[in-house]
Amino acid sequence: MKQPLVQIVQLNLQYADQVVLSDFNWTIYAGENWVIGGKSGTGKTSLAKTIAEDKHPAHVYYVSNWYQFTNLEGDRNFYYQQRYNKFQTNDTLTVYADLLHFGQKHGLDFADAEPILEALGFQNCKDTQLIELSSGEHKKLQLVQGLWLRPKLLIIDEPFTGLDQQSRVNLLDIFDKIAEMGTSLILVTNEENLPTCINRFAEIENGKLRVVEHPADFSKDARRNKKPIPYFLQQAPSFTNTSVVELRNVSVRYGDKVVLKNVNWKINAREKWLLQGPNGSGKSTLLSLLNGDHPQAYNADVWLFGAKRGSGESIWDIKEKVGIISPEMHWYFDQNATVWHTIASGFYDSIGWFLEVKYEEKKRIEQLLDFFDLLPYKNQLLRTLPLGKQRLALLARTIIKNPPLLILDEPCQGLDVAQTNHFNAVVDELCANGNTLIYVGHYESQIPSCIEHRLLLEKGEVVEEVTI
């Protein structure tokens, strides 16, 4: 008889007063490779964590969607701009030291990690400190560890989030290889492009496992009724200058490491740009120059809204004109903010809400809550919602002040196809009213249709600038 890898019998799981799993049964055998998909908020992540709980990592290992590292003093109180501020002491580990530590702990040979690092385009990051990694690079680090460990059962939550195209193709390949070598997989994802080794599909329905034949059979989140965009967002934002962004020969380096090299970029009011490049190509750093978040902007030839950086403006003067969202901002967002407070903070560009909101602003918050179908959740803590809903709340925060410049750095990470299409349609509609747009997205199928220009970065250099 086949020995099961994991057997779950009559599992019950509650989160606060909400039943997640009830009388849940599942047996996983060697040779099976599962995808768990379906609607958001059904308990996929809770299930994945529960399976791995109290198991030996060589038997079952869980890779979360986001792993919060600590610094050398055990502190994880980071802020999203921290990787741009340099301080000699109080550092985090380097990627190499972190991997070495992981390898020692689990008795692994470093030579086995090298091919995975290479396949994911991560070998250049060895000397990078954890705090300096972008969200895509953090994802890769977590993947490398799981794939290197090769447990009997490897569970990965949203394995493809934030990965560039090439890494993703290579990752599919690695999954097939390790499956062949005897590791069973559970991937929690709704992606359609899956490794060929996947042979079982299931979702969670009313707290129980529902096995399906094909990913097409997964339940979908209810189709969204497109509501009319609130009136205040139909107004054209005002520009004081036709030039919104101008970078002249801008370079950014940390010690010997060059992150951006001789970048020139001019963005005029109302233009719609797509910014692309592999993980680690310098996209986040480039955007941080435009949002007042990067100290090196003071010595570079950076012009924002017609004024040179360092000519007496404060970062709050800049942020007032910019609506920004990025995976990093999401991960480091105020843990104690409710959905309502999250959106309110968009008026003051704060991470969390501190100031009194005016009557007119309160009305706008309500309108946007309604527009994104978030009204029932407005008093809930942001972090307690499913990722997709958290994203929507942060997107509402980004657009609430109808800013002249929208910087949307992978805004649809964590959203399903329907939500992505819905949000991109909103972006199209907003931008038709005259907002300037910089959009970052790895996949052509997931970008708004209003895009007119494209800038491609590779290893910190602009390799292509085209009008679409």
Partner: protein, 493 residues
């Protein structure tokens, strides 16, 4: 140089000690304008120096760093901190003569030599800022009469000053103008603009004086903040080991317990901290802390008296002159305690367990906070100042203990605080000998509620709650905490 405070007539001593006004946010409506276009030169680029400078520049101000020649030539950390963040860096000779505002953010002990080097280079009518008044008040440094002397003191570590600013908030800040050095009347506009530049105006600002800041700061750090946390931690650990509790568990409970317990203090004051206990445990903690207050009151008073008379700073400066002989000896001793040498065990302790199994620390913290506050207020310091220097800072110090125990805590705080901490610790332990003999594991190491049915006397509970909630530190705390509701939790556990 003569102790400045001791040169003042009594009425002026009282006047300056009693200066404390919680400022209305409308007072900061002019933003950073008073410093706009002015040249700001920061001396020192450690945690406070760098992070304040980053904030000031991000607020649209012109900031550069003056470092000693050797620091630049040898590319020391301070030089790297400044240049890696793209600040202009120069020697004192290059930058100080151009400065409209010189901000001194070097360690206390270097103030005299820094000021002696900087002052002759400063231009006529420039301003000089401190973040701590020891040099002016205790060492009696005289600043040229044309120079304006101000203080801006964020009441948090430098890393927090930066983190809170970038979140769109700030940290509570104390500002002051030295009455002997405000020739043009620009002291307050400068101090306020500087405070806005660091984000402090969003989290509550206390208008204070150099004298009030020094006398309250010294008192707080020696007694409740560092001294008592050290004494209480060591005694608790030793007691648990003596009574057969696993040393790894004891080490973890002590190292992280003080942080978990004072996190409740930060949000809800002393009564909020005691509210985390069951009713019988609360009454017990109340009784124990009353006893502790009676035992330790004379020691708190002695520290305050020595601070007021200048006796403390005199003795400490003698040790400075003696190559820090005492300080280094005591520091080495702290590194050798059993608590320091026992690593935290690999055991899970839930958040509530830190309260239930460490009732003794709850009692220590209540006794220490209230005693420090009461003693300061009796000495003429206003409740607002006393609050910041006692209750407000306790969780911050507790956080340093959670990171790397007491040796690390003493390394992170100033040498002045460290010296005072050891003085207190050495005097406090013998005072508590008899008290500690009576302490058993129900107060430290095991759950106090175990085997008890949870019932209490109504009248007694009401009385205890009233005493806790009506203490003056709670009254002023409610007001001051309203201004900083958005402070983020610092969590290591």
């Amino acid at each position: 140089m003569a102790n400045y405070f001791n040169t003042l007539p009594l009425r002026e001593q009282l006047n300056q000690l009693g200066e404390a006004e919680f400022m209305d946010s409308a007072e900061f409506s002019d933003g950073v304008n008073a410093l706009k276009g002015k040249k700001i030169v920061i001396v020192g680029c450690g945690a406070q120096g760098l992070n304040q400078g980053l904030n000031l520049r991000d607020s649209g101000l012109d900031v550069s760093y003056a470092l000693r020649k050797e620091a630049i030539e040898q590319k020391r950390d301070s030089w790297k901190n400044a240049t890696d963040n793209n600040f202009a860096v120069g020697t004192y000779e290059e930058l100080i003569p151009t400065a409209d505002l010189v901000i001194n953010l070097t360690p206390d002990k270097q103030h005299t030599s820094v000021i002696n080097a900087v002052q002759p280079l400063m231009k006529q009518g420039a301003a000089l800022s401190y973040s701590h008044g020891f040099n002016i008040v205790e060492e009696g440094m005289q600043i040229r009469k044309d120079i304006t002397v101000i203080m801006v003191a964020p009441k948090c570590p430098g890393s927090e000053v930066r983190a809170e600013y970038l979140r769109g908030f700030g940290v509570p800040t104390l500002i002051a103008v030295h009455p002997e050095n405000d020739p043009e009347g620009k002291g307050w506009p400068y101090a306020k603009a500087y405070c806005v530049g660091t984000g402090g105006h969003r989290a509550g600002v206390l208008k204070s004086s150099f004298v009030a800041e020094v006398k309250s700061d010294l008192m707080g750090e020696q007694t409740i903040l560092c001294g008592l946390l050290q004494t209480g931690s060591i005694l608790s650990f030793d007691k648990m080991v003596e009574k057969g509790i696993d040393a790894g568990y004891a080490s973890k409970l002590v190292q992280y317990g003080v942080e978990v317990i004072t996190e409740a203090l930060k949000h809800g004051g002393v009564s909020g901290m005691l509210d985390r206990l069951s009713n019988p445990a609360k009454i017990k903690a109340f009784q124990v802390s009353e006893e502790l207050k009676d035992i330790m009151r004379p020691l708190f008073q002695k520290h305050q008296d020595d601070i007021m008379s200048g006796e403390f700073s005199k003795t400490m400066m003698e040790d400075w002159a003696n190559g820090d002989a005492n300080l280094l000896k005591w520091r080495a001793e702290t590194g050798e305690t059993a608590f320091e040498k026992t690593p935290a065990g690999d055991v899970k302790i839930s958040e509530q367990e830190y309260f239930d199994n460490y009732l003794l620390m709850v009692a220590f913290v209540r006794a220490g906070v209230e005693l420090a506050f009461e003693t300061m207020v009796e000495a003429g310091i206003k409740p607002e100042s006393a609050y910041y220097e006692s209750l407000h800072e306790t969780p911050l110090i507790a956080n340093t203990i959670a990171r790397k125990k007491l040796f690390e805590m003493n390394r992170v705080i100033s040498d002045t605080a460290e010296y005072g901490c050891y003085l207190f610790d050495q005097a406090c332990k013998p005072l508590l000998t008899d008290f500690m003999k009576k302490v058993d594991t129900d107060l430290v190491g095991k759950n106090f509620n175990e085997g008890k049915d949870g019932s209490v006397d109504n009248v007694q509970l009401v009385q205890v709650n009233e005493i806790l909630r009506n203490h003056p530190v709670e009254i002023v705390g409610v007001k001051l905490r309203q201004a900083m509701t958005a402070m983020k939790a610092i969590k290591t556990v």
